[in-house]
Symmetry: C2
Subunit: 260 residues, 2 copies
């Protein structure tokens, strides 16, 4: 069966996460239903990252197996047609080898988190950022973040329901940028690792926001990490600022850039 | 009566435009209703630009007259509280002189238009951009735009229902920038003038999009302008990419920058 890799953008707001669940709207379910319009049967697709309810994607990657050979542009166009009006779009679609796997072939995940500091409620960005009404200090958040980079036991920043074999992971990058936005300041967190624990990014950002607000000194991030205790974590922040921004593969099916 | 100037951001999608209309949701109506929660009576506010149905604002400016003196930050907070969950936010609010007028004191309006060129449907930006599926040529659009800058009779680019006294206006700037966006290209049009005719920006962008698509040579923009004939205009583009981005005043109540 020919296999195709898909690069997928979605707004997570109306979905109960990526993973198919009976009776609930999910991104996986939406794409599998669209595939069933093209080849009527049960479809099961696999994704690089199983995003939680309300989490967005700029470039999720998944693969599907088809019965017949499709011209990639036609398959992409047909899927986008059947996905409408749901906020899910296939940005790119390429044929891959039978043993290429969106999840198991991936060696890197990249996430972006958008945190808005502004008193007036968000309008255009409502549901696309996590908003706080107070000021934040970029330098303090960066100092706190520095303690998290590298190979650590991240038990403190791991949800109790996390199914990973080990809490030991290597965080390759956690960069924070500040930018002016209409009437406020936006902070973007850029994270990169081979893989992440469940709720790891939201646990990081929830803790670093407390540091930026002046409620916790940056050194306490190190103390919390070394405690290896979920209770030492700051609050887990809400999902609507989180985006799966990219997936890295040694054999990248999308190399050569995006189509228009 | 103390007068206050407001800087207002809104998502135009759910509104039948700025101007109050009986039985229809409008931005003016939403703000006047919020004011009536604070000082129960009929309120009438005036704005710098009466945006059409579906048009957004990043920084609309309006003024209101109150019976009692309000601490500006408290008045802004109370209005934002009562505006929720409508996508309208007061970003800044300042006391102004009795003879300061949001519309008549304004000497400049700035608009931004967001045009997305991408085959896959917009998800996060749905309703916030005008999307086309084909490629556009920035250089052609810039060459076409150059013909529009300066003082001209803009009858070609004026809606039949326009109420301005004269079709002669001076367009101070029309700059177009191209930027990569997730899976496509975005074109931002930045326009600046003392005032605009009804549908002028959407008539410009609709015409320049045809130029960018290769359907009309840039020189035809000059021919169309000189025809002084509505029939010579390209298609008027849809409203969802248009933003009132700022208003200029000699005596700017918001000078000194945005609050957080």
């Amino acid at each position: 069966m020919p296999r195709y890799a898909m690069k997928i953008e979605y707004n997570g707001a109306p979905f109960a996460g990526w993973q198919r669940q009976d009776g609930l709207p999910t991104v996986q379910g939406a794409i599998e239903n669209a595939l069933a319009k093209l080849e009527p049967r049960a479809h099961t697709i696999a994704a690089a990252g199983r995003t939680d309810s309300g989490v967005h994607a700029l470039a999720q990657v998944a693969h599907c197996d088809m019965e017949r050979d499709w011209v990639p542009e036609r398959l992409m166009g047909a899927l986008n047609f059947h996905l409408k009006p749901q906020p899910v779009a296939i940005l790119d679609l390429r044929p891959v080898a039978d043993d290429w796997h969106a999840r198991f072939s991936a060696h890197e995940r990249r996430y972006v988190f958008r945190l808005l500091s502004r008193r007036a409620p968000a309008t255009h960005d409502a549901g696309l950022v996590w908003q706080v009404g107070h000021e934040l200090d970029l330098g303090l958040m960066q100092a706190g973040a520095a303690h998290l980079i590298g190979r650590h036991d991240f038990t403190t920043f791991r949800a109790s329901q996390c199914q990973a074999d080990s809490p030991i992971k290597t965080l390759d990058a956690l960069r924070i940028e500040e930018m002016p936005t209409n009437g406020g300041r936006e902070y973007r967190f850029y994270l990169r690792a081979r893989s992440f624990l469940h709720n790891q990014v939201r646990s990081f950002v929830g803790t670093l926001e407390r540091v930026g607000a002046g409620a916790m000194p940056p050194e306490n991030v190190k103390t919390a990490l070394e405690a290896r205790d979920r209770a030492a974590c700051g609050p887990v922040c809400p999902p609507q600022g989180l985006y799966l921004a990219g997936v890295g593969y040694a054999d990248d099916p999308f190399a050569g850039g995006d189509p228009r």
